[in-house]
Amino acid sequence: MKKQLLIIPFILFLFILLTFFYLLAIERNPSELPSNLLDKKIPKFETESLLKNERFISSKEFGKEKILVNFFATWCQPCRVEHAYIKRFSKENGIRIIGINYKDNPKKAVEWLRGLGNPYSDVPVDKDGRIAIDWGVYGIPETFVINSNGIIKYRHIGPITKKIYKKINLLIKDIE
């Protein structure tokens, strides 16, 4: 009986080993964190618009249709890389995209959009990064999918890749 008990540590060890192996094998990025704002209403904000002469008021824009929110800046290299996919969202999906210009030089941002093409329906300016803090953003580019009730359904940290593009595309069709 007592001899049989000695097998317990081995079983435990095997269990721990399997758990670790599973965590290694599945595809995940441990430094990527879930958003605390998921399934919550978007944080309200009001700021100036980069391209329009009127102020951007979030309560006027959100809550009517699905919207993609993309935090970007001209100094952010991955933003340039993902820009092609952002344009594809607007072309192929027809979804409204709001690009929040994070701690950037407005002149450079206007030029950047002129050069690469502008997929954004509006570009609110986050001059001091406070809007981003309200959204829990910690590394741009970041992309949020908002449903027609103004609720955050998905958040992606980092540039949009082919795989993420497909994932978000499916999600957009899925949500209300």
């Binding site: 007592k2 430094s31 964190l33 605390n36 944080p43 803090i133 309200d134 910690y138 590394g139």
Partner: protein, 135 residues
């Protein structure tokens, strides 16, 4: 001789460990009110820099860490208490932004597992010793 060197190395390590000199607070961030500044430093030491993830915002040079340090100081000046400031940050960034995990039902396992495993360990050693004495 070797022993002497060893002691020197250990004491250098200890001095570094306890001095905790690493800080990134820039002069223009510091508040005039010393009491408020100390509170800000205290909070900053408990807030994780989300960019570097294993540093507090008090030690990190990341731009976001600087923004958060300034934000904390603004909140203090506005008369917010420490709990309100922590709440503001966890509402946006989740519990992960706290360097110490909070005591919650969700983190209970985290807090109690070490004790449980310690207990199991003691039990096994005791059990084993008793058995070998019998043999």
């Amino acid at each position: 001789m070797v022993k002497k060197k060893f002691i020197i190395v250990i004491s250098i390590c200890l001095v570094h460990f306890f001095s905790n000199n690493a800080q990134a607070v820039e002069p223009d961030e510091i508040l005039n009110n010393q009491e408020q500044e100390l509170r800000a430093r205290d909070i900053s030491k408990n807030i994780r820099c989300m960019v570097c993830q294993n540093q507090s915002i008090d030690e990190s040079n990341a731009p976001l860490a600087k923004d958060l340090r300034i934000l904390i100081r603004e909140k203090i000046k506005d008369g917010k208490n420490n709990d309100e400031i922590y709440e503001f940050l966890t509402d946006r960034y989740g519990d992960f932004i706290l360097l110490n995990p909070p005591f919650k039902l969700k983190t209970l396992v985290l807090w109690f597992f070490p004790f449980i495993f310690f207990g199991i360990g003691i039990f096994i050693i005791f059990f084993h010793n008793k058995k070998s004495k019998q043999d």
